[in-house]
């Protein structure tokens, strides 16, 4: 066997070399056969791309190995610095460093970030604050553009000299490029400071929605500059264009979202390519919107938002995990690359520095942002139930970071129409640097200083979920009694419409009938079941009574002794028959359709029902019996009390419904490792014996 392998290997090598030699050797001359030759041009493009991505990833890796640095400086700053260094290096080597190509940026680097943001957009806070977000996005950006454009024009007039040639239209165009809050930069900085949900969604939502305004204004001013003169009719058309761009983008996204949801209904037999549909439909939505100069960002967001609830109900949870991780991975790489390229492009130039222009731009950016936010908040607070305080306004104003989108838009300007393009680019880069470095670095200590509310740790609580739903119905009812159609009324109507018609079409099988409370409960169950297993393997059987019972649901740390772990593993290994079946095929064409789910439902329904009865009796009805040996009772109590309470009887319902459906764990729970443990523990003899004995005792008592 071994000999055969060696011979085959040798033959293979020889063949390879021969072919290699043949491809590269020149048929004309009879020189010696080259065993090894270099052909870099063949692989240059993919090679360089891979090298850049590898560099970006290694940088990211490096930063997290230096916690001191990453605690103080936001990652985006570090990446720009790296970009500067790399650019400098390339320049020193004599070559011209590459500039961030706008087409590459808009078509390859930006979509993953936006899709990631849109797919995981928290819908409830978004819709509750939609009015505020839209006001900031539309009116705020318009105010910024015109204020900046006008004041800059005035300053240029006053300055004379080199700036005299900058006309109003150019100033307005410059204003429109530089005043839009950038989602990439906002995400990069806000992710690290963990402020409360409201502020996060306000700034982030604004950065997403102002894309429509930016696109319209940019094209508008560009057209005007090209045409040379502006009429009132053009202005009016501009306003119409805005609505077309925004609503058109959303519609395109919505259509693709519905298509994706509908497609996912039928993918139960081809689970492997499910994530691909999500990505492809979203990307197509983006590209289709860009074809018509509609807002691609809004299309992408709309697609993600529309398709998510239905797709998640249809796909397996492995696909869900895949989607989540791929999106995070791509968006992370994109973000890193964008910031590095920003640094490199800065070194590449060309630059035209003008102290007046640049300094006025920076001052104006801050000023117009602050004025805009304060003014708009004054108006908005009249209509909000939860008013925005001064602290909130400050964070919203301070969090208006500019980023790579501004740079790319400026880069796209044609030098013929805008002879000041270089000056604009320089100014924009300076603004970006200023906002990312100064504002990005100082926002964290400022948040601490002002004691802004941080993000709550979301505890998965079934009580909170029940009451949140209860409140929704209650408020809708009270609105009905009072007779006016408010926010809750419309949401109620939308929910009913959704449930009755849309879910039936887009969600396959019986899941379309499942209420939200039940799916939430399942999610929680899954999480708790896996945590139960994790803590089971770490529970110390003899010290149950003395184990401190935390009043909060704290996670138990795994500090098992090695011997205990080995014992447990031995028990588990002895019952691996179910696992063997699952490991049978690795070929992707014969991937088992979620075999674990079936095993779960059948065996667990029995087990969980018994567990449930046991714990119910322990807590709720008759006092627990006394005669049980301390070790076993200790085992019951040693599970952290929060964990002791979660069997999932739900599996017992309509078993046929749970064939090849995925579970949807809470997002922050990593299922990959624990999932392997689960099937093994199902056949754990220890637990079953325990249950049977307890069961008998219960029957005796009753």
């Amino acid at each position: 066997m071994k000999m055969k392998m060696k011979v085959l290997l040798l033959l293979g090598c020889c063949c390879g070399l021969v072919c290699a030699g043949q491809n590269r050797s020149d048929p004309r001359d009879q020189r010696l056969f080259p065993v090894l030759s270099i052909n870099y041009d063949y692989v240059q493009m993919p090679f360089e791309v891979s090298l850049w991505i590898l560099l970006a990833s290694l940088m990211k890796l490096g930063f997290h190995l230096l916690p001191v640095l990453s605690g103080v400086v936001p990652e985006s700053c570090l990446l720009i610095v790296v970009g500067l260094l790399v650019g400098g290096l390339i320049r020193v080597m004599g070559k011209n460093p590459p500039v961030l190509d706008s087409q590459l940026f808009f078509l390859c680097l930006l979509p993953p970030i936006i899709l990631d943001a849109g797919y995981f957009l928290p819908i409830r806070p978004f819709t509750e604050n939609a009015g505020t977000i839209l006001t900031f996005a539309v009116l705020g950006t318009l105010w910024n553009v015109f204020f900046m454009g006008a004041v800059l024009y005035g300053a240029c007039r006053l300055e004379a000299g080199r700036l005299a040639s900058v006309d109003l239209l150019s100033c307005l165009l410059f204003g429109s490029i530089v005043s839009a809050v950038d989602p990439v930069a906002v995400l990069a900085v806000f992710e690290e400071i963990h402020i409360n949900e409201l502020l996060h969604i306000l700034v982030f939502g604004e950065s997403l929605l102002n894309d429509a305004v930016t696109v319209v204004l940019y094209h508008l001013f560009e057209e005007f500059a090209h045409a040379g003169e502006v009429t009132v009719g053009d202005v009016f058309l501009g306003v119409v264009c805005f609505f077309v761009v925004a609503l058109g983008g959303v519609m395109v996204g919505g259509v693709y979202g519905v298509l994706a949801a509908f497609t996912s209904r039928f993918t139960s037999h081809t689970r492997v390519i499910e994530p691909l549909f999500v990505f492809l439909y979203s990307y197509m939505a983006y590209l289709s919107a860009e074809v018509f100069h509609l807002s691609g960002i809004m299309a992408l967001i709309a697609c993600g938002v529309v398709m998510r609830p239905y797709v998640e109900a249809n796909i397996s949870h492995k696909s869900y995990t895949t989607i989540k991780y791929f999106l995070k991975m791509w968006s992370s790489v994109s973000e890193t690359l964008i910031f590095i390229f920003l640094g490199v492009s800065t070194v590449a130039g060309p630059h035209a520095w003008n102290w007046t222009f640049v300094s006025i731009t920076i001052v104006l950016c801050l000023l117009s942002r602050v004025l805009g936010v304060v003014g708009l908040t004054y108006i908005i607070n009249k209509y909000r139930m939860v008013k925005l305080s001064g602290k909130d306004q400050f964070i919203v104003a301070y969090g208006g970071l500019r980023g790579a989108i501004a740079f790319s838009l400026a880069f796209l300007l044609s030098s013929d129409d805008f002879p000041m393009k270089d000056m604009f680019l320089t100014a924009i880069i300076t603004v970006i640097f200023f906002t990312v470095f100064v504002q990005g670095m100082t926002i964290r200590p400022l948040v601490e200083l002002l004691a802004v509310k941080k993000k709550k740790q979301t505890k998965c609580s079934i009580n909170e979920e029940i009451h949140t739903q209860f409140l929704e119905h209650l408020l809708a009812g009270i609105e009905g009694v009072c007779g006016h159609y408010g926010h809750h009324h419309w949401r109620h109507k939308l929910d009913r419409f959704n449930k009755r018609y849309i879910r039936r079409c887009l969600i396959g099988g019986e899941r379309s009938q499942e209420p939200q409370l039940v799916s939430f409960y399942n999610k929680m169950e899954l999480k708790q079941a896996l945590m139960l297993l994790e803590s089971n393997s770490s529970a110390n059987l003899s010290t149950g009574d003395t184990a401190a019972a935390p009043r909060q649901r704290s996670r138990k740390t795994l500090n098992i002794s090695k011997e205990r772990e080995d014992e447990i593993r031995k028990i588990l290994r002895a019952n691996l028959q179910k696992t063997r079946q699952r490991l049978r095929s690795y070929s992707r064409h014969t991937l088992m359709p979620d075999a674990e789910d079936e095993d779960w439902s059948e065996t667990r329904l029995r087990k969980q029902r018994l567990q449930m009865e046991r714990r119910m009796s322990h807590f709720l009805t008759v006092p627990a019996h006394r005669g049980s040996p301390p070790a076993r009772r200790a085992r019951v109590e040693s599970d952290s009390p929060a964990l002791a309470a979660r069997p999932s009887i739900l599996f017992s319902l309509a078993d046929e419904r749970w064939e090849s459906r995925g579970r949807k764990p809470s997002v922050k729970f990593a299922l990959d490792v624990e999932e392997q443990k689960l099937p093994r523990c199902v056949s754990d003899p220890g637990a079953d014996q325990l249950l049977e004995e307890e069961d008998e005792n219960i029957r005796h008592r009753h």
């Binding site: 009270i478 009072c482 019972a549 709720l620 009805t621 009390p641 309470a645």
Partner: protein, 217 residues
């Protein structure tokens, strides 16, 4: 109705002072009250049941009961009324008034407590101060009642899990002889302290005239 002009205005001012609504809002609510009762003096359950929006609401029974619950009227009594006047109507609705801006923290805590008390009373139908398993189960069943195919098993399972969660969070490790009776008001406040009731349990009482809104039949 024959009352003099100053009578209702005086009453409105009293109510505004007591409940915190503005005079405009009280006037609008009064119009609504008259619309609901069809110009009778008192509101009965049938009037509320005629509101078409409520018909599709899964928890309408509890909402209607809340209007007639004496505990919500600020009295220490328990029990239900058969019919209520305008004053009680506004009192119940004042639980949903958004807190005024610049409210101090202490006051916010009180407001939150009151709102939670309202919710608690809605669940605790037998007035004994404790939400028992059965009462909670009924709540969950009603919430799920709009989905026809759900059986009683689901509600039971969810309720059990919820009760156990409350027990584990508030009481923690229990001795072998104890058993858990039900959720008291303090425990209720504790488990819902993160829900930010004071900002969520509000509806907008516009200063607009709602007379023109065609709602109901």
């Amino acid at each position: 109705m024959g009352a003099s002009q100053s009578g209702p205005v005086h009453m409105f001012q009293d109510l505004a002072y007591k409940t915190g609504f503005s005079i405009e809002q009280i006037k609008n609510l009064h119009n609504r009250f008259i619309y609901l009762t069809q110009a009778e003096d008192t509101l009965r359950r049938e009037h509320l049941e005629n509101v078409s929006d409520l018909a599709l609401n899964p928890i309408r029974r509890q909402i209607i009961e809340a209007f007639f619950d004496k505990r919500n009227m600020g009295e220490k009594e328990k029990g239900c009324l058969q019919e209520i006047g305008f004053e009680e109507f506004v009192t119940v609705l004042s639980f949903f008034r958004p807190p005024k801006p610049h409210t101090v923290d202490e006051e916010m805590k009180n407001i939150k407590k009151e709102k939670l008390r309202f919710l608690f009373n809605m669940h605790d139908t037998d007035n004994d101060g404790i939400i028992t398993l059965d009462e909670y189960r009924r709540v969950v069943e009603e919430l799920l009642s709009s989905y026809e195919i759900m059986g009683a098993e689901t509600a039971k399972a969810i309720t059990d899990a919820a009760m156990l969660e409350v027990a584990s969070v508030t009481v923690g490790q229990m001795g072998p002889d104890e058993f858990y009776e039900g959720i008291t008001f303090e425990q209720f406040m504790q488990i819902l302290k993160d829900v930010e009731i004071e900002t969520k349990m509000n509806i907008h009482f516009w200063n607009l005239d709602t007379r023109t809104v065609q709602c109901g039949k």
